[in-house]
């Protein structure tokens, strides 16, 4: 997104295998994703979508094959890579004891701190402004998900990993996600997402990666 556009952004994987425990879920995965492109990871339950996304985000271990960001292996690009990615997994990463506003401020402390006006506008965008100062523990699952999406927006990173982003979002929330994903891609961002429900992406360059359960 903003400020990152000088060098072309590329995420690529070559020959990556995904393991869960001692079971190989998929092998020989390769793709190349450029600025403005999205990768839709498909596959049935247990096919390894989450494991793959965790490997790509650098949370899971990549023993076979290599994931490259800007042509550099994740093993070496460490902090540079982590500064460029946002990850939304199955768990929201939202502290239930803190309000959405405090959560966003705390998440900002791990990166560059967002201005409080930015926090306010992002909360408003996610329709959370009225709940900004209530503890997340009393908010609904969908509202917590929205708080997590707000964190992703505030991080202003070029590469998004979304694992089942639509989980527990209502129709309006799904619309918001669609909109923010489209805006992200149109401003040169990249996204890797796994979802069972279809997303309406205006970007023509959505690649699909289907994971087959090994027989």
């Amino acid at each position: 997104m903003s400020g990152q556009a000088t060098t072309p952004l590329t995420l690529s994987a070559c020959g990556v295998a995904v393991w869960r425990g001692d079971r190989c879920l998929c092998r020989d995965l390769s793709f190349e994703l450029h600025a403005g492109e999205a990768l839709h990871v498909q596959g049935s339950n247990g096919a390894g979508k989450t494991s793959l996304i965790r490997v790509l985000a650098g949370l899971g271990r990549c023993d076979v094959g290599e994931v490259l960001w800007q042509g550099e292996s994740l093993r070496r690009s460490g902090a540079t890579y982590r500064a460029a990615i946002g990850y939304l997994g199955h768990s929201n990463g939202v502290k239930l004891g803190l309000s959405p506003r405090e959560n966003l401020a705390a998440a900002g402390a791990l990166r560059h701190a967002p201005a409080s006006a930015d926090i306010d506008s992002t909360l408003a965008q996610m329709n959370l402004y009225a709940y900004a100062d209530m503890p997340c523990g009393v908010l609904s699952m969908g509202q917590r998900r929205r708080a997590a999406l707000a964190r992703l927006l505030l991080a202003r990173v070029p590469l998004w990993f979304l694992d089942e982003p639509l989980a527990s979002l209502d129709i309006a929330g799904a619309g918001l996600l669609n909109e923010m994903l489209n805006r992200h891609l149109s401003t040169g961002g990249l996204a890797v997402f796994a979802t069972h429900q279809p997303l309406q992406l205006t970007s023509s360059s959505v690649q699909t990666l289907t994971l087959d359960r090994p027989t």
Binding site: G60, Y87, V94, A107, L110, A113
Partner: protein, 221 residues
Amino acid sequence: MNIAALVQRDLRLAYRRRGELATPVIFFIIVTALFPLAVGSEPALLRRLAPGVIWVAALLASLIGQDSLFKSDYEDGSLEQTLLSPAPLEGLVLLRVFTHWLVTGLPLVILAVLLALMLGYPTGAMGVLVLGLLLGTPVLSFLGAIGASLTVGLRRSGMLLPILVLPLTVPVLIFGAAAGERAALGEPAAAPVYFLAAMLVLAVTLAPFAIAGGLRISLES
């Protein structure tokens, strides 16, 4: 990385679940109070046992709080976000352990003064006992955090953590109790205090790497 904001977040979270923080403190009081009931209330005996009792009780109480160190962050996904932060994980865990010690270890040190008085520990030696606890309990926090980082992904890790960590805490216990005992007898206690200080320096510099490594392993699966 904004250190003040991170510490503020942890302290705020701790304040909102302050009931939980009372558990180790109450445990500390109860264990210490059990000793006079079990060994008899003879003042000379209790005075002699005081440093050892305080240290064993503080050690066990500090372990109670350790299990929760990374657990809730693991369960709600905050730990993943911490690992994905561009800030060095070692620094983040160092901060986390320090704030955790502030809310779980420091109350024990303060309370130890009262409990030591209750056992008849000489007031003139109290400074050394407290100094030993101030140096030793952070070491216990760091050791506990290493265990917590390795067991955070396990479902029933309640008893595993003490079994992993207790053997590692033996040196802290030996020198901590020795410092308190020597001071009570009016002997020079500088040597065990220096040993505790050395262990704290080692813990602060090395444990964050072990804790960060443990967390990475725990989140890989």
